[in-house]
């Protein structure tokens, strides 16, 4: 670990030495059910980084009175310690209010790493925390490693081309902050026998500047794509929004849901929350059926975790044909109805 020369760094950054910082934090995002699954998934890379550094994993919960009852789950899923701040003012999520609490805690405890889930709220809050601490933040990491020489964490993320990976370091600043999209890392198993410390902290959150006036739940009956076991996904090759009706029929027969490529979203054939890929969602179904999708790197990066990929494409040379497990060279308008018919026939037998 090199020493930071205080003369050389930006005068607005506090000058601190990396060795003063320890432990890997995971900030819990709270939703109506408790701690969001996406933030619990962050315990997986946190555990790996902490083990390589020989440090602890620490969960951080900033929530309303009673939030400490959620600490146990973080411990059972891999945290060695959980720091809890409970306050009336944390009943409502405001990125700068919750963010300020995380900043206060970080100034006191000096973690070497802080991880956030890159959910919509996490993407809003994490850069505020990083900036207030005047440290670096790496977005949408797909992997982490530790440089054995410097002990710097390597924050690994795909930039635009999706087939390249950038290894990002934060050599002169701590904490090293990173986010990852939901489902990029698996949810660590819950082990009841795991033990850990719960530390209560008193932090006075600032008054919110912003005011939530109203919140309405959007009724959604469909399973979100990131939770589905079967996904039938359509691309520009469908040619029209009607194509999705055929896919919907197939999806229903297989107990799955529909999704789409960015081109299908851009065309307005399917809503943005059902987009798969780099700028959409990462999915991990058992079966992903890609229909009329060419297989761009930006699309395929979202289906890396799919157990099996089926492609239906009229073009034998489309890149997806080499990246699927089973590829049918066919016009979807013929082969998908035939597949539906076959499935119906088998069902009746």
């Amino acid at each position: 670990m090199g020493r930071v020369d205080c003369e050389k760094i930006c005068s607005l950054w506090p000058c601190e030495q990396p060795e003063e910082f320890r432990n890997v934090w995971v900030v819990a995002e709270l939703d109506e059910r408790g701690i969001s699954e996406a933030s619990l998934q962050m315990l997986t890379p946190a555990r790996r980084i902490a083990d390589k550094l020989g440090e602890d994993v620490v969960g951080v919960i900033a929530g309303p009175p009673g939030a400490s009852r959620l600490a146990g789950e973080m411990i059972e899923r891999g945290a060695d310690e959980v720091i809890v701040v409970e306050h009336e003012r944390l009943s409502e999520y405001y990125p700068d209010v919750v963010g300020s609490v995380i900043v206060e805690l970080s100034l006191k405890y000096k973690p070497s790493v802080i991880l956030f889930a890159a959910t919509a709220r996490g993407r809003e809050m994490a850069p505020y925390v990083a900036n207030t601490l005047k440290t670096g933040i790496t977005a949408d990491c797909t992997d982490f490693d530790v440089d054995p020489k410097t002990k710097d964490v390597l924050l690994i993320r795909p930039p635009f081309s999706a087939i390249m990976l950038a290894y990002i370091r934060t050599p002169f600043r701590r904490p090293q902050i990173g986010t990852a999209r939901p489902n990029v890392f698996p949810l660590p198993e819950r082990r009841q026998e795991r033990q850990g410390r719960i530390v209560r902290e008193e932090v006075e959150p600032p008054e919110p500047m912003t005011r939530l006036v109203n919140r309405v739940k959007i009724p959604r009956s469909e399973v979100p794509i990131e939770k589905a076991e079967v996904i039938v996904s359509g691309g520009r090759g469908l040619g029209s929004p009607e194509g999705f009706r055929i896919l919907e029929e197939l999806a229903q027969l297989l107990g799955g849901v529909i999704a789409g490529s960015r081109k299908a979203v851009d065309a307005g054939w399917i809503p943005p929350e059902r987009q798969v890929g780099q700028t959409g969602k990462s999915v991990k179904p058992i079966l992903y059926i890609a229909v009329g999708i060419s297989g761009s790197a930006q699309h395929m990066v979202g289906v890396r975790e799919a157990r099996r990929i089926v492609a239906v494409n009229i073009d034998e040379n489309a890149p997806i044909m080499r990246q699927a497990d089973y590829a049918l060279v066919a016009d979807y308008r013929e082969v998908i109805p035939a597949l539906i018919e076959e499935l119906r026939r088998l069902k009746e037998e």
Partner: protein, 269 residues
């Protein structure tokens, strides 16, 4: 920004190879510009476009002024090169203070949801942190009421309405507002009036250790290719649709990964 469809990364330095890559406006930013223009048309005031970038970024300002933006600022200096999001947001927030000194109070700083290159979505929150202004992301509707900003946004399964005191920072959801076209009179105004200013770091007077590569806590240590996930790549050209359907079902029913799933779908469980 450089057109990302064409951009490559230099594997040695980890920076963008910008040579020969045309400059484009980040598409999500056009939605933010459109919202700014609508707010001005409704409530009055002035829309100022702000960019930090190398000289080709002027093309972007030309487009925005053609759309009806009143004035442009381009913060451009070799010292700004290689900035990560912290250093970028620092220049932009100091730029906002500079604009306030020249043109009066700024009420609202609007951002695109994210760029289509590194798409970190950091900049809005970071600028809010530098300026200590309230902020909100993913805006789809906005109005001014009693000197406050009222916005609607969608996050996950909720539609939320927030009220923010001004000045404030907001990022605009992708596709939320369809940008208007460039007009001939707008283009002419750019040429005749040159309603823009190019500002260097000498004008801003920022500590050179706080901008560009030097002011960036993150560095790209190296770039590599993403390892490919091995797939079976069994390609079949069926004789007819029925043959294709049967081939696929046979494959899925004999594959231990998918077998149970298909059986469950067919006969419940």
């Amino acid at each position: 920004m450089p057109n990302t469809q064409a951009v490559r990364i230099d594997p040695k330095t980890g920076t963008l190879i910008r040579q020969g890559v045309p400059s484009i406006i980040n598409p999500p930013d056009l939605a933010a510009v459109e919202l700014a223009l609508r707010l001005r048309d409704q409530y009055g005031g002035e829309v100022i476009a702000v960019t930090m970038g190398p000289p080709p970024a002027l093309k972007g300002l030309e487009h925005l002024i053609g759309m009806g933006v009143d004035y442009g600022y381009m913060f451009s200096d070799r010292a700004f090169a290689g900035a990560d999001t912290l250093a970028t947001s620092y220049v932009l927030s100091e730029g906002i203070k500079y604009i306030e000194r020249e043109r009066g109070r700024v009420d609202l700083a609007l951002f695109g949801q994210e760029t289509i290159d590194s798409s970190t979505a950091h900049i809005g929150a970071q600028v809010a942190s530098w300026l200590q202004w309230p902020y909100v992301y993913y805006v789809r509707k906005a109005a001014i009421s009693d000197g406050r900003l009222v916005v609607e946004r969608t996050v996950e399964n909720y539609i939320e309405t927030y009220e923010l005191p001004l000045p404030a920072v907001a990022s605009v959801a992708i596709r939320a507002f369809k940008p208007r076209e460039v007009t001939l009179s707008g283009k002419l105004r750019f040429k005749r009036e040159r309603p823009y200013k190019i500002v260097s770091n000498k004008d801003l007077g920022l500590d050179p250790r706080c901008v560009g590569l030097k002011g960036s806590p993150t560095i790209v240590a190296k770039v590599t290719y993403l390892p490919e996930i091995p797939r079976r790549a069994e390609v079949y050209r069926p004789r007819d649709p029925r043959d294709g359907a049967r081939w696929l079902l046979r494959k899925l029913l004999t594959d231990s990964e998918t077998r149970d799933l298909i059986l469950k779908a067919l006969w419940g469980g």
